[in-house]
């Protein structure tokens, strides 16, 4: 009953945990950048592209949004090699994250694009801007301003969801925690520490994104 928490026993493993933390941060940053790129392309294709392309994007988005991330990860890591596509743990983890965030950000960005008044597009075109210029300078600019908070929270959700990549032995923070637990059997202590590390990471990411938003969208 009177169990004493012993965090001191985690000390010898600080190095392992730190490496895991760094992996998680890199994984999040890379998949955020690549995922938003995928999302921007997907959203543009859905709203301005040909119908057949829009349909494909819609199927992609719904498939990802309506299945668990862990199943997507297992499909990529265990399933694709059957088709001759063998990926390392790390590559599979990054790929799954990008695909996942790409689908969510497609949907978020699309909502932002649809909120841009049609008149603004027409105004841009009538100022002799090309379709690309209108998309980049008028539509996407306004869309991102509007959906930035939603996109920010999705990034944090995906970051927290990344804990699952430990299940294919990608060496993230959760993997490190599992490793330490298997060595010193202080399961609760190490998972509590890892959970708090994620919590701090989530809070830091939130403030960082907020600050970044203020810089990017300084006007207005």
């Amino acid at each position: 009953m009177s169990y004493k928490l012993q965090f001191a026993e985690l000390l010898p493993y600080w190095n392992v945990l730190l490496q895991g933390l760094i992996f998680t941060i890199v994984l999040t940053v890379v998949s955020t950048v690549a995922g938003i790129a995928v999302g921007t392309a997907g959203a543009s294709a859905r709203t301005f592209g040909p119908v057949w392309l829009g349909r494909i994007v819609a199927v992609y988005v719904e498939l990802i949004r309506n299945t668990p991330f862990i199943v997507q990860l297992f499909f990529i890591f265990f399933g694709l090699p059957a088709l001759g596509l063998k990926l390392s743990e790390t590559t599979a983890a990054f790929l799954a994250m990008v695909i996942n965030l790409g689908a969510y950000s497609t949907e978020i960005i699309r909502a932002g694009i649809e909120a841009v008044p049609k008149g603004h597009i027409e105004a841009g075109l009538s100022l002799a801007m090309t379709k690309w210029e209108v998309l980049r300078r008028i539509v996407l600019n306004q869309a991102f301003r509007k959906i930035y908070p939603a996109l920010s929270s999705q990034i944090i959700i995906v970051m927290l969801g990344s804990a699952v990549v430990s299940q294919i032995s990608a060496e993230d923070l959760t993997y490190a925690a599992n490793f330490v637990a298997s060595r010193n059997f202080r399961n609760f202590e190490v998972y509590l520490l890892a959970a708090l590390a994620y919590l701090v990471l989530a809070m830091l990411t939130r403030s960082l994104l907020r600050a970044l938003g203020r810089v990017i969208f300084k006007a207005r």
Partner: protein, 216 residues
Amino acid sequence: MLQFSFWDILSNLLIATQWTIVLSLIAFVCGGIVGLALLFMRTSRIPALEWFTKVYIEFFQGTPLLMQLFLFFFGIALFGFEVSPWTAATLALTFWTSAFLTEVWRGCVESIPKGQWEASSSLALSYIEQMRYVILPQASRIAVAPTVGFSVQVIKGTALASIIGFVELTKAGTMLNNATFRPFLVYSLVALIYFCLCFPLSWWAKKIEGRLNVAR
């Protein structure tokens, strides 16, 4: 060696799907009840209660669900209780769900005009009576769409219970994969079953939301 036909794989997955559904329902219902209690605390304007719910929500929204599962699984054991994956998964998913639902519902409560609070205050209604008769009946109309939408997250969340050894759809998929060595087929089917569970709910949530926007 035991041979698995396509139908063997599918029927085993479908049997396990029942547990995904049961776990989802329990987590959603219990999470909803806890969430409602938290909602009352969060909007009570009693500083200690608000502070507690804020910390609670911050923790369950700011840490991975997987960590929460581990913490419940190993944490309760510290007190000398035998913890089954079933108990740990139910508890973790309930608390996790409640944190998100509380935030979703708080947004709905806060979208009700201040005048509704003032008018009901002036009629001598207590806080609980205001919530019960004036605020929640209005807020619940707006809350349906995001709540149904969140149920999809709950179903997907139950997949993580597989990691602590709870045999539901994802765990069954892993076990079948180990037995059959047909990962592409097995995980395709697993994904497809999740899709069949989640997509109708997503679609319904979107439909309700659209209808509500038209009605305004």
